[in-house]
Symmetry: C2
Subunit: 350 residues, 2 copies
């Protein structure tokens, strides 16, 4: 069933039927009713491609997911992010198109997305320091919003970000208030903007108390479970091991916990953990009592808010860039406790 057929059935012109369906004021309310009823009865819905060809808008939004070709990883927060965004899209009749692409080949993808008219805008994921994609998108004139920010870029652009720096400063302060002085940082890859900001927050807090960061207990890698595990094993074997771990992802935090308990130590008593928690649906931080003391910020909410921001941007290109900085909640769980007076790791090995 297409427009032509439908209008023939109704004895109206295509113009009128089209207008009736799209809510234009030029049709009598009675006619509109008839048209809508007929459309429903014949299960008509307009061909998206023809519609976009005619309007010049695709009603689709692109997500280009960078996949580190070396690691072949898809960020686990992605599922929850698109769940949030998907809600907004379906309510606004947008489609979501995904491209998984190896790091580096992204430029072609963005250009193709623009010239082929596949999407009306894109959401930029995983911004890096000095991310070149922002200038690129500006240049090719494809509307976009960024999930995160890119330090070093002074061009204006819309973004939504967690206040990573203050979050990690608070988390570090929290641990220091408990008496911890030797706090390890297990962070994401340093090329990632968020990791950079988190480290800054961590260093801010240490600096404010006259401490300085020790590279020996700082790591930057893909935030896998095994990274948490092996980094922790390594550090606990140091002559002067950390008494607390500040972790960038709950997934790695699970690895940290595993390492701690493998050593016969107890989390929250012998070694403390604070982690960032993106509220992943399958990895909620405990049911009633949180497992981990955590800085929490829902990535699903971020998906909702950011997609809305992009849709606004698309429907009004004159709109000034929007910014949204989310503060985290610091929830206290059972993974933190006062710093042990005698070093439990040292005591054990002794």
């Amino acid at each position: 069933m297409n427009l032509k057929e439908l209008s023939k059935i109704l004895g109206l012109s295509q113009t009128t039927v089209s207008r009736a369906l799209n809510g234009y004021p030029e049709v009598k309310e009675a006619t509109r009713k008839t048209v809508l009823a007929a459309a429903a009865a014949h299960n008509y819905s307009p061909n998206t491609r023809a519609k976009s060809l005619a309007t010049g808008r695709s009603n689709a939004i692109g997500h280009v997911i960078p996949m580190a070709n070396s690691h072949e990883m898809v960020n686990p927060i992605f599922g929850d992010f698109i769940a949030g965004a998907g809600e907004v899209y379906s309510r606004n009749n947008y489609e979501m198109v995904l491209s998984i692409v190896e790091d580096g080949r992204e430029e072609d993808i963005y250009r193709a997305l623009k010239t082929r008219g596949t999407v009306d805008g894109v959401i930029l994921h995983g911004p890096k320091m000095n991310d070149a994609r922002i200038a690129l998108l500006h240049e090719i004139g494809l509307p976009f919003v960024v999930h995160g920010r890119a330090s070093g870029i002074d061009m204006p652009y819309s973004w939504l970000d967690v206040n990573n720096r203050s979050a990690f400063r608070r988390a570090t302060d929290f641990l220091m208030d408990l008496g911890h002085r030797r706090i390890a940082l297990l962070n994401g890859l340093e090329t990632m903007d968020f990791a950079h900001r988190r480290r800054r927050g961590y260093e801010d807090a240490l600096g404010a108390r006259g401490l300085s960061a020790d590279p020996e207990i700082m790591r930057s890698e893909e935030m896998t479970e095994t990274f948490g595990y092996s980094a922790t094993c390594d550090m606990l074997a140091l002559p002067c091991p950390p008494t607390a771990f500040l972790v960038s992802s709950i997934i790695s935090a699970l690895g940290v916990r595993r390492a701690i308990e493998d050593q016969g130590l107890r989390m929250g008593r012998d070694v403390s953990i604070v982690t960032h928690d993106d509220s992943l649906s399958y990895l909620t931080n405990g049911a009633d009592v949180p497992i981990f003391t955590a800085t929490r910020s829902s990535v699903r909410d971020a998906g909702r808010a950011l997609s809305r921001m992009l849709i606004d941007q698309i429907s009004d290109p004159a709109l000034a860039p929007q910014h949204q900085l989310l503060e985290v909640e610091l929830t206290v769980g059972r993974s933190t406790g006062p710093a042990p007076t005698t070093n439990p790791v040292a005591a054990q090995t002794a």
Copy 2:
């Protein structure tokens, strides 16, 4: 830059340019070269929508992700699945379009996808027992393949599935060979086909040794970490607690492990775990030595194979339905050991 402009520049007709670009034999090789060079120079790529309107094919594949509205969860295996599928799509010039949809509203989505011509085919995720979507897709004539199978459906359809039944039978046998007789099953939702098959495998193995399944140590829920944790806590508190756990997801297995160690017990000595492992990129089962003894099958490979299957189906609709049954690897990790002679849990509480 569009076809018209490009052909004007070249001094050729649109027909010839189009044919040159699409590899038709009616153009001289020299002309083709010129055309291709000009296209590259002017950064031309054809408008997708116009092309699909003309050809009747969209070169896009839909993934409709069911989201249990009650749980609001997006299956974590999804990210890795689409990473695999995305590879194949980009190599074959397909786009991936995603719809996140609440359970139940799926019918409308599939119909819209068909009538609006958004996609050429879809991949069906998370098949349930007697899944109604299969009949629906047949009815509306949208090509599809299924990730998994649907018991109770006798219509022919293409699928790719893990041999869940034999996997869980083997896993159960493995535990029984170690002397375990009281083996808990932490499974996915029973409405899910895979969960049903896994239970069958588990029961097969028990039955073959004259044992019968005890509902008290069998659970079916969304495979979250907290599910693993709380189910394990409950079961370890039983008068006759299980000595081993068979788990459907590595995420829940992490919860099981947490519960075990919270009780002061040791995984692999006091309590054994075997889990299914989908080889999620951020949750690999240990670096060198596997954490868990596991039945492993890469969901990313599944994504690759299944998307290929669908593309074949689309390019040749006459093709008979394809089937692919993947056998799992049983990798032995450090989470299993001989059944303790005296019940450690009982001993501890005594």
